[in-house]
Symmetry: C2
Subunit: 157 residues, 2 copies
């Protein structure tokens, strides 16, 4: 009924809609965490540290699909906030292992709440069944197309 843009037209494709909706979602999440002095990529780095402890900056760069110098600036910021610690590897003093601090874990929890709230407003109009289907499909796409765990792209503005 309302499908001016259904069918094969560009705005009706999954790729296009994922692109647009992904921007919206990232935008709202970015706005929600802005008061915490965090960008989505900072949260992505913290989430990676939470899931997999004791990684070097190089490891993180390749796993997150970004360049090592970006990890440096993200880690610098998180370190200033007291969310992570840099620890020199004793056996190889070139390596620095990043670890979440208690404060960092706390911050991550706050970000989780923010993301959950964004989810709520974003999916408010879906039926429970539709929401479950969406989550299921997104989970498959996520685990399927993401052997690496790329960081979310923050909105350009």
């Amino acid at each position: 009924m309302n499908d001016v843009n259904a069918g094969n037209s560009i705005p009706g494709t999954v790729a296009y809609r994922l692109g647009v909706l992904g921007t919206i979602a990232a935008d709202r999440f970015a706005a929600a965490i802005d008061p915490l002095d965090l960008k989505p990529k900072h949260v992505g780095l913290m989430a990676a540290l939470d899931a997999n402890t004791g990684a070097s900056q190089q490891d993180l760069a390749t796993r997150l699909g970004v360049v090592p110098s970006l990890i440096v600036s993200l880690a610098d910021h998180l370190e200033r906030l007291g969310a992570i610690r840099r620890e020199r590897d004793a056996t190889d003093r070139r390596r620095q292992t990043l670890a979440l601090t208690d404060q960092g874990r706390q911050l991550l929890t706050t970000c989780e709440q923010a993301a959950t709230e964004v989810d709520a407003t974003l999916t408010a109009r879906l039926t429970p069944h539709q929401l479950q289907s969406l989550q299921e499909a997104l989970a498959i796409l996520a685990t399927d197309t993401l052997p690496k765990n790329p960081l979310p792209t923050p909105p350009n503005p």
Copy 2:
């Protein structure tokens, strides 16, 4: 079984997954149309012209949620490619109406094929039922949260 990142952890939220998958989708689509000398935002503008003919650049800027000067550069590029025409409004000579040319419509069709191919690889592992559920949910989110028709955000690289 495979859900290291399920539950309420950040990577498991809809917002986060839409953000990451949206980046992937936009990235692949951008790669697919790169040989055509187009970026996602060019395609977004062409799609808007295809859906709603005879709009001025200001109209388009507000409808697409970008600044007028960005419409200028996008239109400049599309005009150089012969995909659109600029036509001065006879009654108000300040206004310029953008219109897709036949060549532009052709180009848009090629982009549609590219998007459809990206869709195919992106959703290859979904069952037909899951695919349908995903499309349904995305359609609802799209029509629900997008009173305006924002342009897709191209990947930063």
